[in-house]
Point group: C2
Chain length 343, copies 2
């Protein structure tokens, strides 16, 4: 076998870290009007994205994100060995119909809103292990398809508690390759800490930040121990969509592990909207939230040399409407991806 | 990066093929009464498997399959770096609740009934690439949870056309490792051909064999070309759940590619039931169908030295009840796993 690259309890340190050579992100109108709007490659003003139903709309977001990532990465679909895709919809239909036309061998993945972490981890593993020269990771969410599926159709105008989040409409795609792209600085995926299912017994699908925070605390804690690192070694530790309530719980739980990440922490769900003005309660959520923040804002900070080392930790809540209605808990899962700049 | 192990269009040839060191399979009562009944580790007579609802029943199947695989593989959960799990249920709730207790880092995957192919491929990739010493792949299906979700609750007694299949109740788990187990003969995963989404425009969820056959023909054809192999080089080429209608279409489509696999072909869905006596129409289906046939019957044939080289090709139909009701097509995806015996 290859040299053993697994370290500590749950982590991989890549020997020859893959490069992020292309990225694409498409955001909805509301996201385009938010504080990160200027970082997105494309703002889709039409909520249906040219489709006939919400599921088709979300599929079209994925299609466009992949097209942009391929273009910016200056690579053709036929030169990519694997596509790793997932979304929040039952049986991943946004991915199936969104990426079908590219005819790239597919690994479909599901990790709820942590999916960008899982797909980017697997894309990097495929490249670093010598199984591919290029792989592309893509995920999406759409506020209308997700709300209808998990809770109520948006058109019902159902009220939500302040602990609830707003599902981001958007899709992000990242091309990972085994060689440098034409121009630096380069962002490399240098490590991965893969999460476990963590269940603190919470059952409130209107407070997913609280459901996911224990899983985020578990994987961030284990990552820091596995890499013998301290929070201050990172420019940012970025969770996916904990929102303001989940963030508080994360800080508390990490303090129990003797880690204080308050200075380094950023949450994509908190950053992506003007919470009060845009009326999103606890923040943004969905696979698309972490994906477009990564493909848009985060990579841009690396390019501008603002950041050198970032831990990207998309956060996922594991429920279906059936499991929720059956009174099951909402466990969480999160994956931590270590991103480092090479000048 | 590691040495490039990708060959041809869609395949990997492992340099140091991982070993299958443990397997476990749990089957329902009906599957236990079928022709392969004696090969399953455990027949679960209770359709609820000790749970309170169908989803919990299916989760319990996964739990038991993993427990058996760990026991037979003589390995503890804490010595397994990754668990790759998936099922047919919305948001993979059978996997979430089935495998949570093992606390193994999780990659959740979805490939419809091809999921055992995807999870075994990724488990093998993780081991061969040096990212893990051991990984476990598990999938499941349950006739009651699947029928209610995709079509109608079983208790409705809805009639089905003869082209329909019967979803297998069962779960199979495979432990892959980088070293030989205590006793031979050994089965190694020597290659993988990863499938693409193939859409011939069919829309009939009661004829999934026809929906999946084009994807099976695509990946088997490309596998044979990528490995410069002929059908007669294999003892068996085993699809997941095409049933008798899908099998015919597969033969026809492969003949267009100049491959005749009629002598080598076996379909888990055809073998798992006495089709007429057990009233299953076109055959068995579901993630569990290929998984328990692999973990039970197929590995046993290797152990008995009946077979030396097998292409295992689980077949998946990509639909959700929403995509179906919206009039979308039912595309297929299949992954081919090359299994070879080492004495």
């Amino acid at each position: 076998m290859g040299k053993y690259k697994h370290i500590g309890e749950q982590s991989i340190r890549f020997e020859q870290p893959p490069y992020i050579i292309g990225s694409g992100c498409v955001a909805g109108k509301k996201e385009g009007e938010g504080p990160l709007g200027k970082y997105f490659d494309l703002i889709e003003e039409d909520p249906m994205c040219g489709g006939k139903c919400w599921e088709e709309a979300e599929a079209n977001l994925q299609k466009k994100a992949v097209e942009i990532a391929l273009k910016k990465g200056e690579i053709k679909a036929e030169d990519i060995e694997y596509l790793i895709a997932g979304d929040l919809l039952d049986q991943l239909v946004a991915s199936t119909f969104g990426i079908m036309q590219f005819q790239i061998p597919l690994f479909g993945v599901y990790g709820a809103c942590s999916t960008m972490g899982e797909s980017l981890a697997l894309a990097s593993i495929l490249v670093e292990g010598g199984f591919a020269k290029h792989a592309i990771a893509v995920t999406s969410s759409h506020t209308a398809s997700a709300e209808r599926q998990f809770r109520f159709p948006v058109s019902y105008g159902n009220q939500k508690p302040l602990s609830a989040t707003w599902t981001v409409t958007g899709s992000g795609a990242i091309v990972v390759g085994n060689q440098k792209h034409s121009s630096g600085p380069y962002v490399r995926v240098t490590g991965v800490s893969t999460g476990k299912v963590v269940d603190y017994g919470l059952k409130d699908s209107m407070n997913m930040g609280a459901c996911m925070a224990p899983a985020a605390a578990q994987v961030i804690g284990v990552h820091l121990r596995d890499f013998a690192a301290k929070p201050e070694d990172y420019d940012k530790i970025i969770t996916g969509d904990l929102g303001v309530i989940g963030q508080k719980i994360l800080f508390d739980l990490l303090k129990q592990q003797q880690f204080d990440i308050e200075k380094q922490h950023m949450d994509c769900g908190i950053e992506i909207y003007e919470r009060t003005e845009q009326d999103v309660h606890s923040g943004g959520s969905g696979c698309g939230c972490a994906a477009i923040t990564l493909a848009g804002y985060i990579l841009e900070q690396f390019q501008k040399k603002q950041w050198k080392k970032v831990l990207f930790v998309p956060t996922g809540a594991l429920l279906s409407k059936v499991s929720f209605n059956e009174g099951r808990t909402v466990p969480g899962i999160c994956h931590a991806i270590l991103l480092e700049r090479e000048d």
